[in-house]
Subunit: 187 residues, 2 copies
DNA sequence: TGTACATCAGTGAACGCGCGTTCACTGATGTAC
DNA sequence: TGTACATCAGTGAACGCGCGTTCACTGATGTAC
């Protein structure tokens, strides 16, 4: 059994993308190998180029896929609600989100790699940030996105600091003051 | 001329460290090679192990050195002043700081790499964050560090988002709302 | 519906390349007398 | 202060290894009649 049907090919492509979206967050973009991605998708590395032109173009799509998974909480069918935003914020500053990188928000994990990368990557990242801000704005009941940008910056900044310092009182304090601050923004 | 004097060796070590501190911010930790660091320090790669046990231990010291350079604005001789903090904040959200990674604040650029790295790296990062928070607290005229953590989170979050999205209106807006928010915190 | 054949998804070996690290070597530095 | 010699900072070739990418191959899928 070697060749697969067209629908199986589409499934393979989706699996490769999902694996890549998780692995670049867990391990970093440059540090994630094509072989590793294919293995995680249950395939061997040689078939990769039937699906993508290069590692770089896989990454561009994987960045978007990472935002999809980071915005899982929000439904695509309707504008975000205040409850959804509240849940998003709570999960954002939770221990699970700090430790579990595979399905985490791509903004804190990929920003530096993308700042050093191509414009194509930046476009995918920007589109993801726009989607995130839109959902937050909807749930905060406003059209201007200033407040949701402040909220997102506060969440991202706290997570970036908390992840780098490791477990301990400093991490706890960063998360606690962020929660307090963010609660004020959601009134 | 091959062997150098003890004082020349110390100079070499300092140059290696300075090069590494800049290159890991500009290129990422895993993506920065020992040869690249040595070349940037004006040496060849073979001599590296006269100065450091491994790339990993170089990185641990380079993280601290990166914080030194990121805190250049503050004097080590006296507690930080309100003026120094104001200058720090202005530079933090400037175009030069977004684009010039070599001498930039290590927190947004290294957090993800360090979250995936060793406890030794996290210890160096935490010590650097503590130093940063201490300087900000001093300049904000307070003993509790809650407010300086909020300030630092806001700066870091805004920079992380601004760097990832590339030049354009979204970046400008993120920086603008961060400046407005931070100005409120410094009253 | 059956048959013949072109297509192509996926495999695994191979490519050139750069990585971190080791090592034999050079010759100025530092030290013992 | 001079001399003899051990030390060791720095060089550059070499190591095993994993990277992204290419390629010949396999055989089920899809298509033309």
């Amino acid at each position: 059994m070697v060749r697969r049907s067209q629908s199986e090919k589409a499934e393979s492509r989706a699996k490769i993308l999902e694996s890549a979206a998780g692995l670049i967050r867990a391990n970093g973009i440059e540090t994630t190998g094509v072989s590793e991605v294919m293995k995680s998708a249950g395939l061997t590395h040689g078939g990769f180029y039937r699906h993508f032109d290069s590692k770089d173009s896989l990454i561009a799509e994987a960045i978007s896929a990472a935002f999809d998974s980071g915005l899982r909480i929000f439904s695509e069918d309707h504008p975000a609600t205040a409850d959804e935003v509240e849940e998003y914020v709570e999960q954002y500053l939770s221990g699970d989100h700090i430790e579990g990188l595979f399905g985490a928000c791509p903004i804190p994990l990929l920003s530096a790699d993308i700042a050093r990368g191509s414009d194509e990557w930046k476009d995918a990242f920007e589109e993801g940030v726009e989607r995130t801000v839109t959902k937050l704005s909807e749930g905060m009941g406003q059209t201007a996105k200033d407040d949701s940008l402040v909220l997102l910056s506060a969440l991202v900044g706290a997570l970036v600091i908390a992840r780098g310092v490791g477990e301990g009182p400093l991490r706890d304090q960063v998360l606690q003051v962020a929660k307090d601050k963010v609660r004020g923004l959601l009134q």
